[in-house]
Every structure is written in structure tokens, then in C-alpha cells.
Symmetry: C2
Subunit: 344 residues, 2 copies
DNA sequence: TATTAGCACTCGCAATAATTGAGTGCTAAC
DNA sequence: GTTAGCACTCAATTATTGCGAGTGCTAATA
């Protein structure tokens, strides 16, 4: 759908204005704000056209107009450009990261913090997943009696804890032996390919030990399959300041979203084209709870491989420019610092 | 402060009624509800007395009366009794726990779930702390380059992860050696008493290794000191249904409380007399954010030693009877299952 | 033909007024 | 000591009104 230059300009000003004020914008205000030197009457005509085209609606007869979702989509696709952040803000962010990259968890929560602060919306950050494919070391630690902790370490140096109960008691020495067996195995192949047959071929095991390994491997596989990457979120209350959230039900919806970490995680991690910045407006979201929100996400990488995602949730009347710019910069920073942290 | 039987009865009915309806209660309603066979006029007189004594207030002249904090305190201390839960509910809870005691984290989140469901308020559960004193094993796992993960295991079989960056690279073999050194040490004494001198006395260490141990120990000590016991909370949105939470600011306050896990943790873990069920009403709470809320907490134990706490946050107009009963029963269940889970 | 001034009309919003009703305190009688 | 009766209070609801920002349409203008 193409709009002529003037309609485009008018639509742009309306959206910008509405994003700032949350008030329907009328023809008089508009004629003053956009200095195209056209009268309110002309603008009214144009607005009527834009309404017919589905870009604007009137909350009630004889009020100003507000943008539709379609308008936001048009704005995002055809009008707005991702700005470079101000020098000062850039260095601020950069310094902040320097102080928070001693530990992965810290980096993640700091990212969420910065995101929500810079955008004034609710930020969500997905920590990298620990999966099957890149697991380089497993350490089994005896907890008590027949309970053990399995620590899985990835090639990139991330760790994940898995706590399980086994059929026999495992003491410190046995735990060490089991670790060694599994790690010996990992030298040649990956966990997902460790079958019963292969386990039985291992020489140095007593029957009891072999049985334990047989128990352990499925637990490991299962835990690595289920993609429960950690989710950090911040700035929930940021949204409360926007007029669209004076309604308690809207707030409930939001809290439900943020608490369903599983859903959030799946949604953000799902690939969708090659866009660096991904914008979902209102009903473009599959999740029912998100139909009234917009969510802008991006991903961070290590060696070109997607590691995790992060983003911002807000009203559909969101400052798409600013959020995109911020996400874009943070993405670069995150890539930089993550690769420093998890350098091979 | 003593009240005569009739005043006590009237106060009780007012509180019960107000807890149920959230409406100020007037003399007419009251005279019907409590079948003492006294007229509204008499009740008015009694109510006037109770107001003078500080138990009731009128939101405005010529409306019914509502209980003050003092009234709730009196109710909790002198009137209410902790009921035994219905048989059916008891067995339900019991069964639920049976399914969720394979892992400590699971037990904790399940407890929060059950609490919020049974009370319809917001539930908070503090997982057991992993401290200095009962640490029986430390496993150091090489992550990548000079980053290691330290897993601390307590006597009771709980584990805690600590991730640190050291001055030198640590590979798998070195990690094992360092673990052994520290564990050898732990056989004789506790971590907090491991001083520089003692480290230097360890024979089998190269200078580089000794240096690493010198770095590790303070990290361990520090991590074990800072009491960041995990906090599970559920049912945040439960409270939104109560009329006192139609105000967005109240909700903000609540969210702030629940998010400040540090504060919550300190508050709940602090001892305060020997009460099994601890009730803090409104301004009885030290925390500024909690002044408008009531919080009822209890603790769970292992071998008579306090391990953690759990409780419920709600409006001061809270169903103190029910919550106390539930907490009382959950406490028993939790003690039972935790001791099964962490049995020595 | 595109633009604009003018005008009657619409409708949400805020302020004001009128009405209702649940509840009180006080007094006098029981 | 208790109660019926009555005048009074005041929040909450509903109705009324005026205002103002905004619109669509029409006719005049460039």
C-alpha cells in the first residue's frame, strides 16, 4: 500500500503526536504541528481518506483520530528509521556493561535493567540455553544418599544444574568415577547419541555403576532437551504510568505474560526471518495475552550462532523509534561482552 | 485491654463481616447477624464505646464502622482460634506434596502454589539457606579459561552455585586438585576459619595453586555470608480481586515488595519470639512498603533447626483464621517432607 | 481541480444540582 | 439498661447543563 508524500507526512505526524500524548489528534493541532502550510480543512480531508484506508480511527464521532495497528505497522516499515543513540548515552551503556560482565547471570540482569531504564517499558532478557549439542563436561556431585547434582558445562563455559534422585547411594568417590566415565565418553561424541548399547560397552564399570549410568543419561538428555532458558525481566511497574494501564485487567494481563516464562521464552527465541530487530504489534502476536501489547525483540550471538534474545514489552502506542535504536545498540554491546565473557 | 463479653462478641461479628464483605457494617445489619437479641440502638451504643476505645472507625460520619488495626490485633490475640483444616483438604494437600518432593526447588514452588491457592492471597516461600557452618563439600568445576564454578554442598544435601573469575586459567585437572585441597581442609574445620596462614601450610601446592586457593576462599566465604536464599512467590494477581487493590498505586507497592527479595527474605527469616505462626498487621511491619498490608508467616525446620520460612501477604482485612489454619498445616507437611528429602 | 473559510452539528467531559438511602446520635419512654 | 422514634449527615448515584475540541459539508477562491 502506497501513500502520497503528503498523506505519509500527515500520518507520521499523527502517530508521533499520539505516541507522545496519548490524546487523539485533531486537524487544528495537526495543522500547527506539521509545517506543511496546509489548513485544517485540507487536513480533515486527508484524514478522512486515511481513515477510509484503515490507518486511523475516531474513538467517537467528533473527536480527533488515533492510529490503528495497521498505521503502526506502516510507520515501522515505511517511515521510521533506526537512529544512532547519542554519544553520551552510548558511552554510559558501554561503561555499565564493563562493570557487569564478570558473570553471565549478572550480565543478563544488568541488560534487563538498562533496557527498562532507557525505554521506560518492561524489559525481558533470555539467558543462553544450555543444550545437548555443545556440552563439553559433566560433573556429578554427591548431595546426600541417593541424590546427586549434575553440573553440565557447555563449550562456551556456561553451566546448568540438574538435581536427581537415583536408585542407589552415591558418595563422593563414586560421583567422581561416574563423572569420569561420562566425560570420557563425551570426548568422542555428544550426549544425545549415548545409547544403552554404548554404555554397556564401557569396560571399567561394575554392574551397579553401569546401572547408575543408565539412569543418569536419560535424565541428562531430558534436562538438556527441555529448553528452560532463564528469563530475566525488569520494569514491570514502568508500564503502570501509561494511561492505557490504569485498568487493573490490563495489568493482570501483563503480569500473566511476564510470569509465563516458558511462553515468553519460546516466543522470543523463535526465529522469524533474518531481521535484527523484530517488531510485533498488538494482534500480530500469537499469544492471546499479548494482543493488546507490542513487543520488540532482538537476539545476541556468539560466533554467528544465536545464543539468546532480549526485548521490550509495552503498549501498542509504543515509541518504536527509540526502542529500536536502543535494542540495536544493546545488541552490539551484548554481542561484544558476551563474546568476551564466553571466549573460547 | 479487656472487653466485656458482649462487646467482644459484637467486635467479633463486625470483624468477620467486614472481612467477608469489605463494606462498613452498620447497627441494623449487625443486629440481624449476631443473634444476641439486642436492638440496633443498643448496638449503636456499644459501637460508640468500641470506637472510643480505638477498635472501630467510621470512614465518614453516618456510615457503618470498620475495624482498626488494633481491632485486628485484638481479634488475632484474643478471639480467633486456629482451626483444624477439613479432612478432605488435608489429604489433598498431603497428596500434592508427595508428588513434588523429588527436588528441593520443586517442593518450594509447589508450596507457594498451594499456599496461594488455599488462601487466595499472595504466597512467599523462602528456600533453605546454604551457609558457612554446614558446608560439607566443595566442587570446583572448570568453565572456560580462568572462570570456574564452585558448587557448595551442605550437610543436608543442598547445593549452591558460585561463579567466579580467577587470575589464572583453570582446567579440569586443576579444578579437581583444587577441590580436593579444599575438601581435605573441610574434614577438619569449617570454611570461615580457613585463614591465609592455614592455606600456606598446605604441602602439596605449587605457588600458582596456592595463589588460586587464596583467591577462591574469600569468594566462597563472601558468597556464603550473603544470605541470598531463594524466594518463590505466587499468586500476585490474587490480590487484584480485592477492592482495596483497585488502586494502581497499591498494586505498585505490592509488586515492589515481592520484587525486593532481599528485604522479604530478611524480614521473614528474622526470629521473633517462639510463635509458630507470626502475624504482622499493617504498620506493625517495619518495612515502609508493607504498612498497608498484613503478612502471616511461619517457618519449617529440620532436626529442630530453622531452615526457611513461608507465608502469605494480603490486605489488613485478611482472613486471619483461614490463613493461620492453612499455614499451620502446611508447616507440618513441609517439615515432614523436607526431612524426608534432606534426611541424613 | 485542489484548497480553504465558514458554519452547523456532534459528543465526551467537567461542573453543578437533585435525589436517595444507609447509617448515626440523641431523647424520651419502657 | 434497653429500645423506639426522629432529625440529621453524607457518600454515592443520577440528571442537567455548558463548554470546547473536533468533525463533515458546502460554497467560494486560487
Amino acid at each position: 500500500m502506497e501513500l502520497n508524500a503528503r498523506k505519509k507526512k500527515i500520518l507520521e505526524v499523527i502517530i508521533r503526536d499520539y505516541i507522545n500524548t496519548a490524546e487523539p489528534v485533531g486537524s487544528r493541532t495537526l495543522s500547527k504541528r506539521c509545517n506543511l502550510g496546509i489548513s485544517p480543512a485540507t487536513i480533515r480531508n486527508e484524514m478522512a481518506d486515511l481513515e477510509e484506508l484503515g490507518f486511523l480511527v475516531q474513538p467517537h464521532t467528533s473527536s480527533g483520530r488515533i492510529p490503528t495497528q495497521q498505521a503502526y505497522r506502516y510507520y515501522v516499515d515505511e517511515i521510521m528509521e533506526i537512529q544512532k543513540l547519542e554519544k553520551m548515552i552510548r558511552t554510559d551503556i558501554h561503561r555499565g556493561f564493563l562493570d557487569h560482565t564478570t558473570e553471565l547471570g549478572l550480565t543478563m540482569s544488568h541488560t534487563a535493567q538498562v533496557l527498562s531504564q532507557l525505554t521506560n517499558y518492561t524489559a525481558v532478557v533470555l539467558a543462553p540455553r544450555v543444550t545437548n549439542f555443545n556440552c563439553k563436561h559433566v560433573q556429578i556431585v554427591s548431595l546426600i544418599k541417593n541424590r546427586v547434582l549434575m553440573v553440565v558445562v557447555t563449550q562456551e563455559g556456561m553451566a546448568k544444574n540438574i538435581e536427581v534422585t537415583l536408585s542407589h547411594e552415591v558418595d563422593t568417590i563414586l560421583a567422581l568415577k561416574l563423572s569420569n566415565v561420562i566425560n570420557g565418553f563425551l570426548k568422542n561424541t555428544v550426549l544425545s547419541e549415548m545409547s544403552s548399547d554404548l554404555i554397556d560397552q564401557i569396560q571399567e564399570l561394575s554392574p551397579a555403576e553401569s546401572k547408575l549410568i543408565h539412569e543418569i543419561i536419560p535424565h541428562l538428555k531430558k534436562a538438556l532437551m527441555e529448553d528452560a532458558s532463564e528469563v530475566h525481566s525488569t520494569g514491570l511497574t514502568n508500564l503502570f504510568n501509561y494511561p492505557e494501564f490504569s485498568d487493573v485487567n490490563k495489568i493482570k494481563q501483563l503480569i500473566n505474560i511476564v510470569q509465563e516464562k516458558q511462553v515468553l521464552s519460546e516466543m522470543m527465541a523463535s526465529k522469524d526471518g533474518n531481521q535484527v530487530i523484530r517488531i510485533k504489534i498488538g494482534s500480530e502476536n500469537d499469544n492471546e495475552n499479548l494482543k493488546d501489547f507490542s513487543i520488540i525483540t532482538s537476539t545476541y550471538e556468539l560466533d554467528g550462532e544465536m545464543m539468546g534474545a532480549f526485548g521490550v514489552i509495552g503498549p501498542t502506542r509504543m515509541n518504536y523509534d527509540n526502542v529500536s535504536s536502543v535494542l540495536n545498540y544493546i545488541r552490539n554491546e551484548l554481542n561484544l561482552h558476551i563474546s568476551n565473557l564466553l571466549m573460547k
